[in-house]
């Protein structure tokens, strides 16, 4: 699953900087005039916490750095949602601890041997055998990308 977002700046904007053509949503009638006929049908904004299930105890957020997974659709600077409690099975993209650092890789079982493989046909990343020195930290469930760059 990939969700594309164009996030607004996360700080208050001074009134002077609000563009004059900005459209404001009307949330209710202010005494005079007709009450909104949509009032009884009003719903809250779409909740990405719910979509990404960020309120689960086992959902954690990581950021991706680098090009190692671009063929699998995970790009540099993507934000990924990681399930710690999901079973790391063949073909899943995982966060693993290799050499004391977090990496993002695809878990592939090759002839019964679990290996961590990069997905970038233009670069030659070596595969790692997931032996006892390697810890699978969690399984990547979703990726969120900022298209503005």
């Amino acid at each position: 699953m990939t969700i594309l977002l164009d996030l607004p700046p996360a700080y208050p904007v001074p009134i002077a900087e609000i563009p004059p053509d900005l459209r404001l949503r009307i949330v209710g009638a202010a005494g005079a005039g007709f009450p909104s006929p949509a009032q009884d049908w009003q719903e809250t904004a779409i909740d990405l916490v719910e979509l990404l299930r960020l309120d689960r105890a086992a959902s954690f957020v990581f950021r991706v750095s680098g090009q190692s997974m671009i063929d699998a659709g995970v790009f540099d600077d993507d934000v990924v949602v990681v399930d710690r409690d999901a079973k790391p099975s063949n073909g899943r993209i995982v966060i693993a601890i290799v050499d004391g650092g977090f990496v993002i890789r695809q878990l592939c079982i090759r002839a019964g041997v679990p290996t961590l493989e990069a997905r970038n046909s233009r670069m030659n990343y070596p595969a790692t055998v997931a032996d006892e020195d390697v810890e699978i930290w969690g399984v990547v469930r979703a990726s969120v990308r900022n298209l503005k760059g």
């Binding site: 996360a10 689960r56 090009q67 004391g100 810890e135």
Partner: protein, 450 residues
Amino acid sequence: MWAILDVTNFYVSSERLFDPSLRRVPVCVLSNNDGCCVARSEEAKAMHIKMGAPVFKIRDIVRRHGIELRSSNYELYADLNRRFNQVIAEHSDTVEVYSIDESFFRLPVTATGLGDVASARRLREDVMRAVGLPTRIGLGPTRALSKVANALAKASEKVWGGVIDLHDVELRRRLFVEWPVEEVWGIGPAIAGRLRPLGVRTASDLVALPATVARDVGTVVLERLVRELNGIECAEFSPESEPLKATAVTRCFGEPVSDGKVLREAMVRRAVRATEKIRAQGLVASRLIAFAHGSRFKPNAPSASRSARLSPATHDPRAIGSLAGKMAESMFVSGSVYSKCGVMLEGLHAVEAGQGDLFASLDPRSPPLLAAIDGLNGRYGRSTVRLASEGQGMRSYDTKRARKSPSWTTRLAEVPVAYQRQLHQDLPKAVVKAVDADPRNNFVFQAINW
């Protein structure tokens, strides 16, 4: 039946979850202002680092053994606390958060009338899988027995596998004989001292103590504890959530303060924080106490306090902040060095229940203003809107958290980073050096802006 779960070395385990370099090395987490050790890994305990040891006293051993020190990361611990309690709630319909690293909860007893050890084991596995924290669980027919079971599970984790059930009277008898009375939950040194002349040295002596004797030695609390240890549940024993009567915000300075203006500003900050705390609970205060003092270890250290009635009772940071600032000014002695200051708000009561003041009228514009301030500070971070007298930004007197790890789970700019980096064994040495030298590959303390 009751159960209690506690997280093994909670602060250290939390740090290790997101910083793999801390695994298998000795780690200590430090208190406010990085003053002393408040959590130790097993490796650090084995090096005889004591709980509460001041950092300056263990500096040599820290350097010699390469012990990793971290400031307390309360943002992280609070978030992981929420998460493990969420996992417990999937197993139990009654969860009572007892402290940042322990929670009581209820489980049904098994058909044999014993504790459900299998469920407790599954819960431990679930917490490890979902939140990555090691835990221990004590089970018993009462809260006090589950707490003792938890302490026993802690002391003999290898033998019992982290879960002990004390439903079985015979097992209790066997374990209690060797369990010193001062290690029983709720028995402090004072009560243990009064029990010793009566020949009460172990938990089994305590269990055999007649209720009337227990009441004479301690209070009704000790009597209830003895009953709970005998497997009789006392409803009154539950930690009741009494309404807050007073609140305090007191903090040591990161760097000592010898300037009156600085002392005043620090006092205003504490006062404003205290008003935030009571506003969050819908309370107003009718008395303000402010104090400041110097180091206990230095001769002629200054020490002063002021108090005033707040009439009408209020939770307005403008009123309480400016009064606290004036108190700080009046107690400041030029030439003195201060190490700590704080405020207390007393006589707290609900906003509606307050007695009116005949001579003061409340500004009707205040409630919406304060609600707007709290809303903005809640959404955009503490001190987004503040009093001018609070000053701006970090100060040298602010609590020191020099070794704090990122808020990995609560701030988007600080979430852990998964790298593409190629593996060391596959790369020539020169490349490894270049990879390590690149600050972007320092995964521990990197922050990224979107």
